[in-house]
């Protein structure tokens, strides 16, 4: 897809990994679902699909511009009453297999156990751009409710015809249609028997209001939880095929190094080993992973490296290496310069944000199999169709000849939007003429995946004696444009994202740059409040109109006990905002041991409004999990690199949050049944870093302007405990 089209559909500039041109083939043939699944009722929102096909004519290779704006989904009710739903969304731990099943069960009036979701198999599901941007709940959940409601109407219609009644007088419940006037009832299986009905999604079909939900809105446990506690579930890295080989890539010593020469003689003598060289790609396939490792190590390679910046010079580099002429997300209103020139209450601050790694516990993995020119790949990715497109391009194949399957995987956090392992396994499998499985090592995942962008952020503000912000200027270099706009009411603003030639490969990360931008904004807000000797909450509310954001700050503060007196050597802080349609405010209490200068995060409370909550247990899990993940980036996570090499590419060198790092965590869900349901995977990560920084500032007076904060605190003689 082109950069232009991404922006047109609202993708943030820092999704760098998506910027490379990718073309997508939209399936042209209607699959014969009845042949595949047997008779029954088939519902599709195919109107949009037909339109897209008409638009694209016979030319199948189109950019995303030509894909339907409406998300497609298919639903089938079989003669046995089983409900199968087909969606391109994928399960990566965010629990949508459960929440989407709840949506279907709710509208179709069936027990949740009778709903089965087929997810992320490009051969079976309608096109989907990918599982990112917290779009599953606001878009796919809604779409599945509509599809399910349409299916329910078909069933009511079948019963009405059979019984010669008006469909409006019949009811659906518990997988049955009932006629209250005669006490007649029929199961869905009975009604579907012998039918082959295709139903297009009607444009307007009333959905069950959230206030009346019975299955949705409930804390339904993970639908296939038992498979995970017994080890039965197969992750991408668990897949196997008969005669399969194990792949291993010979990596360059630094980024951008090119292959000069190599000697693979010893490796090629090893039994069953295939060596592949294709440009700078050098890899082996062998009957066991141990032998693959041994063979790869036995290859002598000469690489040509290129000099590159290192982490110690990173932030000046970012400021000085802007891509000329690009001004994404530029926003200006009023006259900032005029206010700054006349204001005597001005504040300037600079923030530095490190690169961090997603470090999903399951590294990239793929199993590739060729049958003639047909390629099938099982792999862990948030974008199965994106990976299909990458494979088709890499192997010069039409997309119809590539199938990507995505078994529920060991997380991604925005870090698995690409198909590196899939490409590598497929290349090896083609050479070895056998299926090849390739699982990245932890070191590879820490080195050759992409990072959350580093950034420098500069903030300037002016405020009146009454506590009203009069001017706001905000520049983000490289980290990104998500969440860059302020939600506080300021008449004069200049806000700009500056793209930079990044020294490291970078891309999406849970909540994108909204984490960095909220950190800078919310920390700056507290320093403004402090300069006015005003309470943090009072200052925010004075400058905030948006009711739902005010509500999370006010209700969160109340539950947290913001007004209560602080214990000696304890400090409170807050940080919040609005992102991916969700409203968030996080509160933190920190303590200081004056003797040891050890700072401890004692407790955290996050108030969150994501509209009508589909699964309160799932949302709480995301809310707490995001805060804990956020503690890592807030306090200690940072990628260190030197001349094209990652220096801390293992868990023993790159610290991620562990049991001991977790303070008491509380969640306050504000269930707005009158508002559309939105995602919960990203917004909850935003508040933790500014809340902790502001609490430490309140307690010690030390302004913390870096992510992570531990090195800055350590430079002042403090440490986190």
């Amino acid at each position: 897809m082109t950069r232009k089209s991404e922006l047109a559909i609202g993708l943030e500039p820092e999704r760098y990994e998506l910027h490379s041109p990718v073309s997508v083939i939209f399936e042209s043939d209607r699959r014969d679902f009845f042949k595949f699944l047997g008779a029954g009722i088939f519902v599709t929102c195919a109107a949009s699909k037909t339109a897209a096909l008409q638009e694209s004519g016979k030319n199948h290779r189109r950019s995303e511009d030509h894909l339907p704006r409406e998300i497609d989904a298919w639903l089938h009710i079989g003669e046995n009453g089983e409900i199968t739903v087909f969606t391109g969304k994928v399960e990566v731990g965010q629990n949508i297999r459960t929440s989407l099943s709840q949506a279907v069960a709710e509208e179709l009036c069936v027990p949740i156990a009778s709903v089965h979701l087929v997810m992320g198999d490009t051969e079976l599901v309608p096109f989907d751009m990918g599982t990112f941007g917290s779009r599953t709940t606001p878009v796919m959940n809604l779409q599945l409710r509509r599809v399910s409601a349409a299916a329910r109407d078909v069933l009511l219609g079948l019963a009405a015809k059979q019984w010669n009644r008006d469909a409006a007088q019949l009811t659906a419940a518990g997988g049955k249609v009932c006629d209250p006037s005669s006490n007649r009832s029929a199961t869905y299986a009975e009604l579907v028997k012998g039918q082959q009905l295709t139903q297009l999604l009607p444009p307007e079909d009333p959905l069950i209001p959230a206030a009346q939900w019975k299955v949705a809105g409930q804390p339904v446990p993970k639908v296939d939880g038992r498979d995970f506690v017994t080890g039965k579930h197969r992750y991408p890295s668990d897949y196997k095929l008969p005669d399969m080989l194990y792949g291993k890539v010979v990596r360059p010593p630094s980024f951008g190094a090119t292959l000069i020469s190599f000697d693979a003689h010893a490796a090629e003598q090893m039994p069953g080993v295939t060596v592949v060289r294709d440009g700078d790609f050098l890899a082996v396939a062998a009957p066991s992973s141990a032998l693959a490792q041994k063979a790869a190590s036995a290859i002598h390679v000469e690489w040509k490296s290129v000099p590159q910046p290192s982490s110690h010079e990173l932030f000046d580099y970012l400021k000085n290496n802007q891509i000329a002429g690009e001004r994404d997300s530029a926003y200006e209103t009023g006259n900032v310069d005029k206010i700054f020139a006349s204001s005597d209450r001005r504040l300037n601050s600079t923030f530095d944000i490190a690169y961090i790694a997603h470090a999903p516990l399951e590294p990239r993995a793929a199993l590739a199999q060729w049958k003639g020119d047909q390629l099938t790949v099982w792999t862990g990715t948030q974008r199965p169709f994106g990976v299909r497109s990458e494979l088709a391009t890499a192997f010069h194949l039409p997309e119809e000849q590539v199938r990507v399957l995505m078994p529920d995987m060991g997380s991604g956090y925005g870090g698995k939007h690409t198909g590196e392992a899939a490409l590598e396994a497929a290349r090896l499998a083609r050479a070895a003429k056998r299926p090849v499985k390739l699982v990245w090592t932890r070191e590879e995942e820490f080195t050759w995946a992409y990072f959350r962008p580093a950034g420098r952020i500069e903030v300037s503000s002016a405020v009146g004696a009454d506590g009203k912000i009069t001017a706001w200027e905000f520049h983000n270099y490289n980290s990104g444009g998500a969440g860059i706009r302020t939600y506080y009411e300021v008449p004069n603003q200049r806000i700009q994202f500056h793209p930079v030639n990044s020294p490291l490969r970078q891309g999406s990360y849970r909540a994108l740059a909204a984490t960095a931008n909220h950190f800078a904004r919310e920390v700056h807000m507290d320093e403004m409040a402090s300069s006015l000797k005003m309470d943090s909450l009072e200052f925010r509310l004075k400058n905030l109109k948006e009711e739902r954001l005010r509500a999370v700050f006010e209700q969160g503060a109340k539950q947290f006990g913001w007004d209560k007196p602080r214990q000696a050597n304890h400090g409170f802080g807050m940080g919040g905002g609005y992102e991916k349609l969700g409203y968030i405010a996080t509160f933190a209490e920190v303590s200081l041991n004056p003797a040891t200068k050890a700072i401890k995060v004692e407790r955290v409370l996050t108030a969150f409004d994501c509209g009508a909550v589909v699964n309160p247990d799932g949302v709480r899990n995301q809310l707490i999990g995001a805060n804990i993940m956020g503690i890592g980036g807030a306090i200690f996570e940072a990628i260190e690199f030197d001349n094209g090499r990652i220096l801390n590419n293992r868990f023993s060198k790159y610290r991620v949050p562990r049991f001991r790092d977790v303070p008491r965590m509380d969640a306050l869900l504000i269930d707005r049944k009158d508002q559309p349901s939105v995602g919960a995977g990203e917004a909850p990560i935003l508040g933790i870093a500014p809340a902790i920084a502001n609490a430490i500032y309140a307690l010690t007076g030390i302004p913390l302007h870096t992510l992570p904060m531990a090195p800055a605190l350590s430079a002042r003689g403090y440490q986190f405990s």
Binding site: N95, T230, G231, Y235, A290, E362, S411, V439, F651, R660
Partner: protein
């Protein structure tokens, strides 16, 4: 040269051919199709590969196969008795103590080891014992709650 090893896993004897330094993790996953035990780091830092060796938690990614012959190995696949889950497995389900769940089998095996060697651990004991297991999704508080809950199962925990 590959050597033949007899391994007792989940009460069953398996015969495998492997290099002496081959890891137990690779044998479980590649030769025996016991894929519930996961690779996460290969340096004993994340706990995803945890199994029980003679009742105690051990990182299978650092355990050479030659070191575990004649010992009793239990993987996550060997915990349930028929359809009846081990109390720790049941507690993880009851508390919803997972997101992507890739760490879950290692967490469960570590917790089983803790509870079979220590009655009623405090939260601080749990945190200390589990410190070597990473959950990148951040479900730690639920995992502590699940272990606390399972610890009330008492004698059932001792195997």
């Amino acid at each position: 040269m590959p050597t033949r090893y007899a391994l007792k896993i989940n009460g069953q004897i398996f015969s495998v051919d492997a290099e002496p330094d081959a890891t137990l993790l690779s044998i479980l996953r590649e030769q025996l199709d016991l894929t519930g035990t996961k690779y996460g780091c290969g340096e004993g830092q994340c706990g995803a590969c945890t199994v029980l060796v003679d009742g105690r938690a051990q990182r299978s990614c650092l355990t050479p196969v030659s070191a575990v012959t004649g010992k009793s190995i239990v993987t996550v696949e060997g915990l349930a008795k028929g359809d009846r889950l081990h109390p720790v497995q049941q507690a993880f389900l009851d508390e919803g103590a997972m997101q992507c769940a890739y760490c879950t089998s290692g967490m469960i095996m570590s917790a089983v080891s803790l509870l079979s060697n220590r009655e009623n651990p405090s939260d601080a004991d749990i945190v200390q014992f589990m410190q070597g297991n990473i959950c990148r999704c951040g479900t730690y508080p639920r995992i502590v709650a699940a272990i606390r809950k399972a610890s009330s199962a008492g004698k059932e925990l001792v195997r």
